[in-house]
Amino acid sequence: MGMSLQQIVFGVLSIISIISALGVILSKNPVTSVLCLIVTFFTIAGHYIMLNAQFLAVVHIIVYAGAIMVLFLFVIMLMNLNAEIEPQKRNWLKYAGAISGGALLLVLLGALREADVTPIQPGAAEIGLISNLGKTLFNQYVVPFEVSSILFLSAMVGAVIIGKREA
């Protein structure tokens, strides 16, 4: 049984993204975690391209890898945390967390294993292109778009006020 090119690309991207996601939660050094998360975000952008969501892939790279992760890295370097060791006094909490996460994984896999979905075909769908998304965004979803600008404004004001030194 030959695997199609799409499945091979999917498998490689998935393995890289899962390994680097595990690296985020398992590495001791926060800077390594940030770098692993950036690798995960790039592989997710690759998945977006394979799913014909080209605009979202570009926005994802710009927003996540370009803005959010730089902010994380900046804060970590500002705090000089890169060698800090977390206190390991309660090890059983760690095991309990890992077991709970694994149990959730099993439950979700068991519930969605037989989900009734139709397969996707490789090939060009027009839905992810910027003209199509722009028309949808500015016709059907123009009110949420404006509300999100208010959200950004309030987030900016909140970040400035919280980050200010004691007035």
Binding site: A21, N52, K94, P119, I127, M156, A159
Partner: protein, 105 residues
């Protein structure tokens, strides 16, 4: 290619994020795990968008608009959350969330 593959990948990424939130004590790592969970959901939404587009629905790009709004909210959340973490670090010289139980007693 079955959409199940994307469902399984999203489940795996989401559960890795949940496990990270439960296991780690560093507030910044916990925050990154929340981002990971948001991205798992985004990936699933994009996969379902593609599925419905292949099935012939004309409004399948609505899911991608949702992903766009989730990214917007995540960016705003990161700005405020990192400001809070910096403030906590400034007050207590640590980002360990175990010190944030002062309301308990």
């Amino acid at each position: 290619m079955p959409v199940q593959y994307y469902i399984f990948l999203s489940i795996a990424l989401f559960c890795i994020g949940v496990t990270g939130v439960l296991m780690r004590r560093n507030a910044i790592i916990i925050f990154m795990c929340v981002e990971l969970m948001l991205n798992a959901v985004n990936l699933l939404l994009v996969a379902f968008s593609k599925m419905w587009a292949d099935a012939g629905r004309v409004d399948a790009s609505g899911a991608q608009i949702f992903v766009f709004f989730i990214m917007v909210v995540a960016a705003a959340e990161v700005a405020v959350g990192l400001a809070i973490i910096v403030m906590v670090y400034r007050n207590s010289q640590s980002v360990d969330i175990n010190i944030m139980n002062r309301l308990k007693n």
